[in-house]
């Protein structure tokens, strides 16, 4: 006979204000099998947990139902409490009477009635709960960092520092990411390359770090502590181990009309190229779309000039497979395409640029060697208009609904740098809001206004019109003056919204992690677990989780590293015992379940059975590897005979819940 204890939480007034908790406890006390039913102010508090523990011991409870907040919140708390009182933790069920009852309903009578039904449902389920024991699964002491920007580099360095091997997979020929393209950093205005490149070198020299540049993640299998990742090393047609990075090939390459992606296409590079001087690894890469040798078989200059003999036109994509205990995602961001914003004339006028393009225009390694010149006629611009929130905070399909967070600050930086270097330049910044939360950020922005006399105008630019004289008419609104302005500008800089890298979505699918509607990875908890994904063993670093500036990115990168290290430190981890299992006597061996298992957790074995008719028979039956199974339950429905069931969410438990609700 079951002895079930019911504990109803007031959650202060969070529950008690709309649910008559006394009535709930009273009603559930009458349910069959319930031997004790109590209510208390805060069940999750020390004393609340004591109450539960004492009841388990004194009443010799066989099951516990907590009517409280969401199980996503405190299920573990109460499971631990039960375990410490000697009750199997999986004999605890939570009735969610806060998020799914008291918080959404106003009428006390109906909310109480619903709370009783939810409690009754949990009691019905707990009747059928069985004690479950967790399995231990070993942890591979190696981490994978996907993305080699500042986030990935920082995470990898921290993990390596802690003594674990870590691999970086970077899709570009070099690590460095967006930060390598940035000229100066706010709010200190130190040069990005000066602080980034030492880190890149450090990463390349750290013997615990392996950098797979020009590589992509092709497949991910496994689970926390034991991922198997297939990495595709894209053919760069240059033998990485032989190339010395001397750069002779790039000089001699006759094909020099390739848009240089590192400089945002503002100048050209050769078909064989090293993205930038401080690239890591400093290895050339052949762009097969432009290489004349690869396209027509006529050239081969690079091969001739390479004394190391590193050129290999026949190189193929290769795949490597590696086990990892933890994976950190650091796939970063990109500015959005502005094709849809006709009003800003981005596609019509070369002097309308994005902020990232401006970074390159101002950078010493950029197309103009650090002198700010108009892309169109290489003249010095005298009036520059910055437009904020281009595509950010846009509720339509052209833009992004969120604030891109970094634009206010980099625009202040750009305006300030321009005013400092070229005091004869008038700089206008059109803004909706200026958002500067961050240490020394607002002071930075005020300096731009007060010290550098940047004209900040509240209001948006409505229309940008290139004129025949090479000038640009910027039509904007000045909301404070209540007037429409026309500025005769030489350049317009658009603070384009940023979006997650396009590779993130397929990666999320492979990793079985969640994304929000904007393709940012979703963290396990927005406040309490900001650097973990909901999938165990997958951590989030940098802008792939949401817009971030460099200091924040680095902070999160280290936090993600710390979480990964915490996992890698363990020799084994406890597996979720809520996994599928097959009743071998009923299994037909038809393989339906195997086909729907995303983890390959099901295999088939030929086993000898004593049949109900007392004969012995060798039959093919399904067998679930509980360490690999993640407990989704797809197999349970694919199985026609009902042999496959899921612990913790068994057919009978769910049907008991259905019955209790419909009663």
């Amino acid at each position: 006979m079951q002895r079930i204890g019911v504990f109803v939480c007031h959650c202060g007034t969070n529950i008690a204000a709309t649910v008559d908790v006394k009535a709930v406890a009273e009603a559930l006390g009458h349910e069959p099998g319930v031997v004790i039913s109590q209510e208390y102010q805060y069940m999750c508090s020390e004393s609340g947990q004591e109450l539960v523990k004492n009841a388990i011991k004194e009443q010799k409870l066989t099951g516990v139902v907590i009517c409280s907040c969401s199980p996503r919140m405190h299920e573990n708390t109460f499971r631990k409490a039960a375990a410490s009182a000697g009750l199997n933790p999986y004999l605890v069920e939570i009735a969610n009477i806060r998020e799914q009852c008291s918080w959404i309903h106003k009428d006390i009578a109906t909310a109480t009635e619903k709370a009783i039904i939810l409690g009754r449902t949990a009691v019905a389920k707990v009747h059928l709960n069985t004690p479950l024991t967790s399995m231990e699964s070993p942890v591979v002491k190696r981490a994978l960092v996907i993305g080699g920007g500042i986030a990935g580099i920082q995470t990898a360095l921290d993990i390596a520092e802690a003594g674990f091997d870590v691999d970086i997979v970077e899709k570009n020929p070099t690590i460095g990411g967006k930060m390598a393209q940035i000229d100066k950093t706010f709010p200190t205005l130190d040069c990005a390359a000066c602080i980034l490149t030492p880190k890149m070198v450090e990463a390349s020299q750290n013997e615990r770090i392996t950098i797979h540049s020009f590589s992509e993640v092709a497949d991910v299998k496994g689970f926390v502590g034991n991922f198997t990742v297939k990495i595709k090393k894209k053919a760069r047609f240059v033998d990485e181990t032989k190339c010395t990075g001397c750069g002779l090939c790039t000089e001699k390459c006759p094909m020099k009309k390739v848009p240089n992606e590192f400089n945002m296409g503002l100048d050209n590079r050769s078909a064989i190229y090293i993205p930038f001087a401080q690239a890591v690894p400093k290895v050339a890469t052949i762009d097969p779309n432009y290489c004349m040798m690869m396209k027509s078989g006529k050239c081969g200059v690079c091969s001739k000039v390479c004394s190391a003999g590193a050129i290999d036109y026949k190189q193929q994509d290769t795949f490597i497979e590696q086990q990892y205990g933890a994976i950190v995602v650091a796939t970063g961001f990109n500015p959005i395409k502005l094709d849809k914003y006709d009003e800003f004339a981005y596609n019509q006028c070369p002097d309308v640029v994005t902020s990232l393009e401006l970074e390159r225009l101002m950078n010493a390694a950029g197309p103009n060697g650090g002198t700010l010149l108009r892309p169109s006629d290489k003249s010095h611009p005298h009036t520059i208009v910055f437009v904020q929130c281009v595509g950010s905070r846009c509720d339509d399909e052209k833009g992004k609904p969120y604030c891109s967070k970094i634009c206010c600050m980099y625009t202040a930086k750009h305006a300030m740098l321009i005013r400092e270097k070229y005091p004869d330049t008038e700089v206008y910044v059109f803004y909706i809001d200026v958002r500067t939360p961050g240490k020394n950020f607002d002071e930075f922005y005020r300096r731009a206004v007060e010290q550098y006399n940047v004209h900040y105008i509240k209001g948006m630019v409505g229309k940008v019109t290139p004129k025949s004289d090479g000038k640009i008419d910027v039509q904007a609104s000045d909301l404070l003056a209540g007037e429409q302005l026309h500025i005769n500008a030489d350049m317009v800089v658009l603070a384009a919204a940023i979006e997650p890298d396009k590779t993130a979505r397929p990666l999320a699918t492979m990793l079985t992690t969640q994304m929000d509607t904007n393709d940012f990875f979703t963290e396990a908890h927005p406040k309490l677990r900001p650097v973990e994904s909901a999938t165990a063993g997958i951590f989030l670093s940098g802008a792939c989780q949401g817009p971030k500036d460099i200091p924040e990115t680095v902070a999160q990168a280290s936090a993600a590293a710390a979480k990964a290290i915490g996992l890698l430190c363990k020799n084994s981890i406890t597996c979720n015992p809520c996994v599928a299992h097959s009743d071998e006597l009923m299994c037909n061996g038809c393989s339906s379940c195997e086909k729907v298992c995303p983890y390959g957790a099901i295999t088939y074995v030929d086993k000898e059975f004593r049949m109900p008719d007392r004969s012995t028979k060798v039959r093919r039956v399904a067998s679930v590897n509980p360490a690999v199974c993640q407990g989704c339950g797809a197999c349970t429905v694919a199985c026609p005979s009902g042999a496959m069931d899921l612990s913790g969410f068994s057919n009978s438990q769910i049907m008991a819940e259905v019955d209790a609700i419909c009663k």
């Binding site: 009458h30 349910e31 069959p32 109900p612 019955d659 419909c662 009663k663």
Partner: protein, 339 residues
């Protein structure tokens, strides 16, 4: 004998149905007849017999026995038995009529099955003599004369009239109640029809099938016969034969949780099913061979052993027509007899 012209038959039905529920065999679809509660306009089937037997009237496929109400931790048992209303079944064939006496032996012996008895007490069975038997008929094997059917009232069709003959007190009461419709009739033509029907009976392909080699004393002879393996080989273990059989009377008792209480009901079970008589230790009959043997041994050996030689089959031929793999009692009898 008293008769009614066939042209006035439905008038009679209307009158009977006005006082109590009347069931007649009617066409559900082409070639498939079933008993239905009579309503004006309904026509009698031309089929020889219904797909399902008439046993449903007294022993329905499912029947509630008791109810338990759950209130918190308390259980209240409710007796749901109540007297049923009087009803009349018209058009029962001799074989089905005989099946009632077989079912009576099971349900009306001590302890009496009150549910069955209740229905039996309130039901009046009006039979109809056969004139056009089918090739699957072998009621004669079990001593049934289909031209003189039993029941409370026997009816005979001479082509133009239906004659009524009361066999029991209940039957007399019924005939009395419809006397306004009846008139005395000449039975010459009826005798002719009867003679012709008997002649056909003699010519049926199964006319010579006999129970001579079967009976209560044949247990040892047949139980271990090596014929069972071959006979049962093709059996798919469905319950068609049992469910269309007028004499199969096995049932299971189950509880159903309605959410606000428990309904305890009984429903037909089939000895052909793998979970029939399943007990804590498992099923006593482990293979389909044993289950198959059980059904036929019961009809041909065990039942007569316990019921003064009465066989558990009436030769209606339904299983011959309906078995998905065409295995049936006739084939079994012939195979067992063959030395």
């Amino acid at each position: 004998m008293q008769k009614i012209s066939k042209s006035r038959l439905y008038e009679l039905f209307d009158a009977v149905a006005a006082k109590q529920d009347l069931y007649i065999p009617t066409d559900r679809e082409e070639g498939a007849a079933e008993y239905k509660k009579y309503e004006s306009g309904m026509k009698l089937t031309k089929e020889l017999n219904t797909v399902r037997s008439a046993k449903d009237f007294f022993f329905p496929q499912t029947e509630n026995l008791a109810e338990f109400r759950l209130e918190g931790k308390n259980i209240e048992v409710k007796d749901i038995r109540e007297e049923c209303d009087d009803f009349v079944i018209f058009g029962v064939r001799a074989c089905d009529a005989k099946s009632f006496t077989i079912l009576d032996k099971v349900f009306l012996c001590e302890p009496v099955d009150s549910f069955y008895k209740n229905r039996r007490d309130h039901g009046t069975v009006i039979t109809m003599a056969c004139t056009r038997p089918a090739e699957t008929c072998f009621c004669k094997t079990f001593g049934i004369d289909p031209t003189v059917p039993g029941g409370d009232v026997s009816c005979f069709d001479d082509g133009e009239n239906i004659f009524f003959l009361a066999n029991t007190e209940k039957g007399e009461k019924f005939v009395e109640s419809i006397s306004a419709f009846l008139e005395d009739g000449d039975t010459d033509k009826l005798m002719e029809v009867q003679t012709r029907a008997r002649e056909i009976m003699g010519k049926l392909p199964l006319a010579n099938l006999s129970t001579g080699n079967f009976g209560g004393d044949k247990l040892n002879e047949y139980f271990n016969s090596d014929k069972w393996a071959e006979l049962s080989e093709a059996c798919i273990g469905c319950g068609t034969c049992t469910f269309v059989c007028p004499t199969c009377q096995c049932y299971d008792i189950k509880d159903f949780n309605t959410g606000h209480g428990i309904k305890r009901f009984r429903c037909w079970d089939s000895c052909m099913y793998s979970d029939f008589t399943k007990m804590a230790h498992g099923n006593p009959r482990l293979t389909q061979l044993e289950r198959f043997r059980q059904r036929f041994m019961h009809k041909l050996v065990y039942f007569p052993a316990n019921n003064d030689g009465e066989f558990g089959c009436v030769g209606c031929g339904r299983c011959l027509a309906k078995c998905p793999i065409s295995m049936n009692i006739v084939k079994v009898m012939k195979a067992l007899e063959a030395k």
